[in-house]
Every structure is written in structure tokens, then in C-alpha cells.
Symmetry: C2
Subunit: 144 residues, 2 copies
């Protein structure tokens, strides 16, 4: 198994409502069939998909989807001072701040929000792992 | 907010046990501090982190983490015939098959497994979205 995640799917209650949230943050969807909203990321895509359809795909019922299964998605930034404004923007778009921007014990700076469906995002500045010029991340950082 | 996910974190019950699963599938960890296991992917990384530590980071208790929150991670393959063997390999490593390899209504071929902590992976072949030579995915495919 090669080391890649091709598509992250987030199950959502209301597809267009969920998309408006991400588009308020500046994301632009690609063309896709009705019933799924997709954003191309770096080397992968993120899809929004109705929870009912996702449950059906997995042989579950919609009620089987709920809670917090312990997955977080981190969006890293190149500048510490950009963390708090992005969290504010997420809150204005209807997100819920789980942890305000603050110093972290390992030497970074971060905060967390939940999107409209409770999916958890970390907004982080990691001085030890600079992003590439294109925004790519690797654990020990790009040195370009 | 640029369109990227820098780090996917999976909360796990037992860090080394969880890592053995991914390493049985062929992944290789990068150097990281004790208490976190990290795999560099394409333009992003995936981290395994104890649920207890993740809960603390989010101001929760470990019992707040559970269930299935409706996030799936898809790993796409370039050949249909590679889907079933990878699912079998995941099962042998201790994963649970949620959906055996099968044709999908949209014209692809896929199956699902859950890792040792219940995180849900889709193994997929999508004939309409060829991967790049480096394995990168975008919704409408690479044409190289």
C-alpha cells in the first residue's frame, strides 16, 4: 500500500449548507455529479457527501454516523499571525471554535474549530516544518 | 484558506499496535518524537496519536471519542485487480472488511475496511480519474 490518501470524504447533513461553509473560507469546488461536492487539494481531493448516502454505501443507517471518531484534519499556515484570523473566519462562517489560537507545548501555535457537521480542523503554525512553496507539508519540513 | 490538508490525525487506542497495522501494509514511519507515529504521504502527513492525548488536546475526555463520525479516507489504485488483494492484506493485518471488493454504481470498483481503531478506509479503482505517475489524485483525473 503506497503512502497516500486520494480522497477524504466528510459525511454531512446538508450538502449545500456544508459547501457554503467551505466556500465562505475561500474554497472552490470542481465540476462533479449532483450529490457530491468536491474540492481538489494538494495531490488529493476532499469530498462532501450526504451522511444518508455514505451510510448506505457502508451498509449502515444514518443513525450509525455520529459522535467524534478521533480524526482531525490539520491545515498548516506559514505564519503564526494567520492562525487566529482564519479561526475567526471559520467562526463567522458558522463553525464552532473548540480551542482558541494559542501556543502549543511543542513550540507551535494553533487552534481548533468544528465545521457545521462537527468535523474537527486544526489550524496550525509549525515553525519546525516549513511548508513548500506550493503549500505541501511533510513532517520534518521543506528546506527550500 | 488555501485548499490543503497538511496532517490527518487518527486517534488510536494503542500507538504501537496501530502502527504495526499500517506497517504491515507497507508504510514506513518518519522520525518523530515519542508519543506520535507519522507517515509522510503526498504533500501531507498522516499521524497516529493516542486517543487520550488527542482528547486532552481538545479539552475532552477519552470517552468523548467513539463511534463513526462519517469521515472516510480513500486510497485509490491504478488497477482494478489490485483492489481485492489490498483489502485481503488489510484483513490479514487485523483490519475488518466493511464491504468486499465490488463494482460501484458510478463505474468504479471498490471495497472498505476499518483499521484496528475503526477508522474507515476505502480502497478504490476509479477509471475516470487516473492517478498521476507519482500517485497524486485529483477529482477529474490526470491525463499524463
Amino acid at each position: 500500500m503506497d503512502q497516500r490518501v486520494s480522497l477524504i470524504t466528510l459525511g454531512v447533513e446538508d450538502l449545500e449548507r456544508a459547501a457554503v461553509f467551505y466556500e465562505c473560507l475561500g474554497w472552490k469546488r470542481v465540476d462533479s455529479p449532483d450529490g457530491v461536492v468536491v474540492y481538489d487539494l494538494i495531490g488529493q481531493a476532499l469530498g462532501l457527501y450526504p451522511k444518508a448516502a455514505l451510510a448506505e454505501e457502508l451498509g449502515m443507517t444514518k443513525d450509525d454516523i455520529g459522535g467524534f471518531s478521533g480524526i482531525t484534519l490539520a491545515h498548516n499556515l506559514s505564519a503564526k499571525e494567520d492562525v487566529a484570523p482564519l479561526l475567526e473566519r471559520a467562526e463567522k462562517a458558522g463553525g464552532r471554535i473548540l480551542k482558541p489560537a494559542q501556543e502549543v507545548f511543542w513550540g507551535g501555535y494553533h487552534g481548533y474549530f468544528a465545521d457545521l457537521d462537527g468535523h474537527v480542523w486544526e489550524i496550525a503554525y509549525n515553525p519546525f516544518a516549513p511548508l513548500s512553496a506550493a503549500g505541501a507539508f511533510c513532517w520534518n519540513g521543506y528546506s527550500e
